[in-house]
Subunit: 218 residues, 2 copies
């Protein structure tokens, strides 16, 4: 019974790590689609979200099945319930990559990102990659040190998000209201993506150390 | 044991219904604070979110405790796991009310909402009230019919959200970029609030009917 539990739990962990890979790739491709106004790429990101959703349902069923068959208690119970939380964060990260791709699609053949903001959006995409890769490592290895790094990446994302607003609020910015709306939404999607990655890491830290993660509020 | 389980579960349901009341009141007050540029009211909404967070942690502990002590299976297990999902949606709805209040606070003493958009934002606040009240009823009574009504309210919210964009994108709109950013964010907060309420209702429907809820994507 103990071994069966461990192998069920490993299957869930593997699926969660696979999801970080998928939602990481989705956000990387969504960023490229957004910056290059690449319609085909945007559509491939949107279509690929089904795979993330399928894994979400799979993990949910696996966790319920494990709870029903093994009736874990204490730390084991917390591990399974934490997986249910993490899978919800990852599913949402997939949605947010999908949303970035949808903005790219909506503005095609134009780019939704004015030239003077491209560098900042590119950096947001890069920070998103770093953060989701670390979230995958934290899930796979329960590496609490990486979780702390991930918090710093999230601070970097917040700074980039603020920079985005200061650029569109500058006196000399003349991109217009439509671009301001797109950039506001896109900025929010990246920021929320990073928040969910932080939330994943904090949940793992809570499991390992018993220290309850601070609330992710933004 | 059966009775203990039932009474534990009732306590969780009561806490969830109480949370719908709190996050409903928070969004109603946040809407007033936003439209009237009422700083004290905005701050009271922001401070009150701690209560929602405390209930969130309470429900999470109650659910874990119930899983550990009673080891429910089948429908009972799904009910407890669903509560964990619902409490996360409600906690997030509290955050979104907090975010609306934060926009009001940031723009004080000005109002973040230009005069020509006030009617639409007021309506979004009213739909938010209807939808969270129904979500509370659906949790309390497992009333699947109300869940369908709630989907229609969510469609109304989506229409209002689209109207908000069409107003700020109109040729004669001269509210400027800062207002466009505020309105884009606020619109998104109301829309997400409604999405989470729909998600709550769909989870209850899934419990009652076994029909898996459609994905909430926006």
């Amino acid at each position: 019974m103990r071994d069966a539990y461990r192998s069920d739990l490993d299957a869930i962990t593997d699926a969660l790590v696979e999801m970080t890979r998928l939602v990481g790739s989705a956000m990387a491709r969504a960023t490229t689609a957004l910056l290059d106004a690449d319609l085909a790429l945007a559509e491939s990101v949107i279509a690929a979200d089904d795979q993330v959703d399928a894994l979400y349902r799979q993990v949910e069923e696996q966790a319920l099945d494990l709870l029903a068959r093994q009736s874990p208690v204490a730390g084991d119970l917390r591990t399974v319930v934490t997986s249910l939380r993490i899978v919800a964060d990852l599913e949402r990260m997939g949605d947010l990559a999908d949303h970035v791709a949808s903005v790219a699609r909506r503005r095609f053949p134009a780019s939704a990102v004015p030239a003077e903001l491209r560098g900042t959006v590119l950096e947001m995409g890069q920070v998103a990659q770093r953060i989701v890769t670390k979230a995958g490592s934290v899930i796979a290895s329960r590496d609490v040190a990486s979780a702390a790094e991930l918090e710093r990446d999230d601070d970097a994302m917040d700074s980039l998000h603020k920079r985005l607003f200061s650029l569109i609020l500058a006196d000399d910015w003349d991109g217009g209201v439509e671009a301001a709306i797109d950039v506001t939404l896109v900025g929010r999607y990246y920021e929320r993506y990073a928040d969910h990655a932080v939330s994943v890491a904090r949940r793992v830290v809570f499991l390992v150390t018993g220290e309850r993660p601070a609330r992710v509020t933004s």
